[in-house]
């Protein structure tokens, strides 16, 4: 039985998004692992991504391209990463970073992101077949420094304080 960190339950500091997908687990898996399919959804709504390269093996790399809409500048943004663990129809684990079009990792600060943004994140996609035409998909980003709930709670408190301060002026 594997004792790698990826088999531990998510901590409250991990960011998790879950969706029910109206398709079989085979199609959901293809969506993430077949470049022809990835290109259909890796981009802003209504835009296919212009290119996608996948070397689907543990230690293999991927390079995804996303093109901003014309009215937002139309520039290409690249993400690269390495597949860490592949369990077909169940689990896809990889690192992900921003990169240039050759797949060289770039520092988020170089494109204007705050210093706190991690240069590389570890992600896990989990696939759970519910029915022949239904799959539960979970996207997890690991090792986040602080719980999102804590951040929301403090931000909420601070916003109410600020609003109160403005209304009292």
């Amino acid at each position: 039985m594997s004792t790698s960190p990826s088999s531990m339950p998510p901590k409250k500091e991990d960011l998790v998004v879950t969706r029910i997908i109206d398709a079989s687990v085979e199609l959901a898996w293809k969506a993430w692992t077949d470049p022809e399919h990835v290109m259909r959804w890796w981009g802003p709504k209504y835009y296919a991504s212009p290119s996608c390269k996948i070397d689907l093996r543990e230690g293999g790399k991927f390079l995804f391209c996303m093109r901003a809409p014309q009215d937002q500048g139309g520039q290409d943004m690249y993400n690269t990463g390495v597949y860490l663990r592949i369990v077909p129809m169940q689990r896809l684990e990889f690192t992900m970073s921003l990169s240039d079009k050759e797949g060289n990792v770039i520092d988020p600060a170089a494109i204007g992101m705050p210093a706190e943004f991690p240069k590389e994140v570890r992600m896990v996609i989990e696939f759970k077949s519910i029915r022949d035409d239904m799959t539960e998909l979970t996207v997890t980003e690991y090792d986040w420094p602080v719980s999102p709930m804590f951040v929301y709670a403090l931000a909420g408190m601070q916003q109410s304080i600020d609003k109160l301060a403005v209304s009292l002026k």
């Binding site: 960011l15 998004v17 109206d22 959804w41 943004f117 420094p145 602080v146 951040v151 304080i161």
Partner: protein, 116 residues
């Protein structure tokens, strides 16, 4: 994931559970150190140490009121962290919605090809 331990990094500051307790205790209030010591139940040097780090990253500010020094929460420094969280959820939420629309169509086409 090891992060550089710069004291000028809000992420590093709030990664420490005790500092999160200080922030939670301060939120919405303005308190002198002694009140914080009473509320947190730690000794004063420990409270002061954590307040010092939080002041350094701009999460806590001080106001002098007569002879008292009153500490309060400054939430603006949490904004990058807050934005990171909301951006993640927005980004992946949108990706998965687009993916779902695409896969739903593919599923329907496959079912038409081989009806059960």
């Amino acid at each position: 994931m090891a992060r550089p331990t710069s004291t000028l990094d809000p992420f590093a500051a709030v990664a420490e559970p005790r500092r999160r307790r200080v922030l939670e205790t301060l939120a919405g209030k303005e308190l002198p150190v002694n009140d914080l010591v009473g509320l947190l139940g730690w000794n004063q040097p420990v409270v002061s140490k954590h307040l010092g780090v939080l002041r350094e990253v701009g999460l806590v500010s001080v106001r002098h009121d007569g002879r008292q020094r009153l500490y309060s929460l400054q939430g603006e420094q949490l904004k990058p962290i807050h934005d990171w969280v909301t951006n993640f959820e927005q980004f992946w939420g949108e990706r998965l919605d687009v993916m779902n629309d695409y896969l739903r169509d593919m599923q329907k086409r496959e079912e038409k090809k081989s009806p059960k």
